[in-house]
Amino acid sequence: MEMVIFFLFAALAVGSALVVVLHRNPVYSTLSLVLTLISLAVLFVLLGAPFIAALQVLIYTGAIVVLFLFVVMLLNIGREEASGERGLLQKVAAGVGALALLAFVALAYWGAYGTREVGPLTEDFVSLEVLATQLFSDYLLAFELVGLLLLVAVIAATVLAARLGNTPGGGESDPALPEAGEEGI
């Protein structure tokens, strides 16, 4: 049973990940990411972390991806133009590199406790209470700092996005800046 669920959602996750990376339209990419995230949440549950799974859905899909969508809509980002054949080198390099990375990372993970045996999930492991106790005792400082970090992020975002006071799509870009140049490699 567990196997089935695992394979199903694992396949879903990989598939939607590929869509995220390969699709031309950024809106579709974003929505695919949602699918990936939810699949991963299921996998979290399988691994005995229901709270994290819930957080994943709430925060990641519910807030972050929605934010992405807002920005995509705001900037009215269209389909990516055909890139021509320049950039092939980059793609090849990326592909090869990614494969190499895959190999390395897998090996690394495998090497570190990868072959350990695990027992069945216990009530203790899954319980929220234990998690919360640890969070607010051992990691209290980190918790507070994260709060501070979020505050800083909010301020930064506000300042950055509000800089020039122009609305996108309607205002002029700064004439002192050079126009967008040609593409790179």
């Binding site: 196997m3 990989v14 990641y60 950039g87 350990r116 980190a142 950055l160 020039l164 870009s173 593409e183």
Partner: protein
């Protein structure tokens, strides 16, 4: 019983996909999404290890990663907005003022 190492393999795969995406795409938003993908693969790894080692530390780290990812997304997107205002494009190939 699914061997936990398969979760790790899946995470590695997702990481590789995310990397390939981050290096290959021209659209800034898409690149960002790929990076989020990479982050999530790391989250999966952490939870898997938490299960393997029977320690909650992994899950707690994921908690923090989540928070940081949120902050990062907010700031990054604000940067994109600012960038778009100046250059009227999100195509990163066109953002090359430091060209020789």
């Amino acid at each position: 019983m699914v061997p936990v190492s398969w979760y790790l393999l899946l995470a590695a795969l997702l990481f590789a996909i995310g990397t390939a995406g981050a290096l290959t795409r021209r659209n800034g938003i898409t690149i960002f999404l790929s990076i989020e993908l990479m982050l999530n693969s790391v989250n999966l790894t952490l939870v898997a290890y938490s299960r393997l080692l029977d320690d909650h530390t992994g899950q707690l780290v994921v908690f923090f990663v989540l928070a940081v990812a949120a902050a990062e997304a907010a700031v990054g997107l604000a940067l994109f907005i600012a960038l778009y205002r100046h250059r009227r494009t999100i195509d990163l190939n066109r953002i090359n003022l430091m060209r020789w």
